[in-house]
């Protein structure tokens, strides 16, 4: 896309500052994303390495129909999926991971709340975002998600891909994508509530 054009041109010209910008833009995110697919940090680094090689080889023919972000992320997902399957870590996306649906017991048989959500203990999302322990708790909760939930949530809510892009990148249906994402968000909400919830605050 247009805004990536200068960076791509500078990379193709071999400008060191452009490579630094590329690393700063992607390395941390690629590692984080790869960690959803594979078992450990070493495997994640290997996947990211393969991704970098593929990105640099593909750069001259990068068609700019998608953004650089989506293109790089797609390359990583392809490599990481192959690797995750080989390591027998990934459940196919079509088979839902059983997470026990912890929220179910919050409802009565008739579908009404038995134990309604308690406040997040703040009045304002902005103030919550400024609390280091909130972001720490959230980070830990994401790391503990089942792999498929972690990958879909990272792509949607951290990387900001839309549902179409995620379906394309992971080769899953829209419904499937939504169910996986929903379970992940539900679990994170429950953890924030359990950790910070109380009677104070309106959130």
């Amino acid at each position: 896309m247009a805004e990536d054009e200068p960076l791509v041109t500078r990379l193709l010209a071999g400008e060191p500052a452009a490579f630094r910008a590329l690393v700063d833009r992607f390395q941390g995110r690629l590692i984080r994303l790869a960690m959803g697919f594979v078992q450990d940090r070493t495997a994640a680094e290997e996947v990211v390495q393969e991704t970098w090689v593929a990105v640099l080889k593909g750069l001259p023919t990068f068609e700019r129909r998608s953004s650089l972000d989506t293109w790089v992320i797609r390359i990583l997902c392809n490599r990481a999926r192959t690797r995750g399957v080989r390591d027998k870590r990934m459940v196919p996306f079509s088979a839902l991971e059983d997470d026990g649906r912890p929220e179910r017991e919050r409802f009565r048989e008739n579908g009404r709340w038995a134990s309604p959500p308690t406040s997040f203990g703040e009045a304002d999302p902005e103030r919550m975002a400024l609390r280091g322990e909130v972001l720490e708790a959230l980070k830990g909760a994401i790391e503990a998600l089942p792999p498929n939930q972690k990958v879909v949530l990272t792509l949607r809510d951290i990387e900001g891909l839309d549902s179409n892009e995620v379906c394309n990148v992971l080769d899953i249906t829209e419904t499937n994508q939504r169910v996986i994402l929903h379970r992940a968000r539900t679990r994170l909400r429950a953890i924030l509530e359990a950790r910070f919830g109380g009677s104070e605050g309106t959130l």
């Binding site: 060191p16 390395q27 640099l56 579908g111 975002a129 972001l135 809510d157 929903h182």
Partner: protein, 100 residues
């Protein structure tokens, strides 16, 4: 009428605007009446917003510079990445499989 249990199941579909209009109106109607579900929706929104704010772990400066050099080497030579520093977490491009 959708129950609270059903409504909460629909939150992600609602936020993605991937609901038929009728269902969307029923959802909004329920929100209008039910303070618990309203709080639930607000909390899911907050969770999504907070998730979007999570920073990545910083890359150590030496790792970053090594990685930049390695990428430039791939770019110019089409060569495999140059030797990386050893140690867990310090290797920007991961272990070289040939070195094992």
């Amino acid at each position: 009428m959708m129950s609270c249990a059903q409504i909460t199941e629909q939150v992600t579909a609602y936020l993605d605007r991937s609901m038929p209009l009728r269902q969307r109106m029923a959802f909004q109607m329920h929100m209008w009446m039910c303070t618990h579900c309203r709080r639930y929706l607000r909390q899911v929104r907050t969770t999504v917003a907070l998730t979007g704010r999570l920073p990545t772990d910083p890359i150590p400066e030496d790792v970053r510079e090594d990685l930049v050099r390695a990428l430039m080497a791939i770019h110019t030579g089409g060569a495999e990445p140059v030797t990386m520093p050893p140690g867990p977490g310090s290797s920007p491009l991961g272990d070289d499989p040939k070195a094992r």
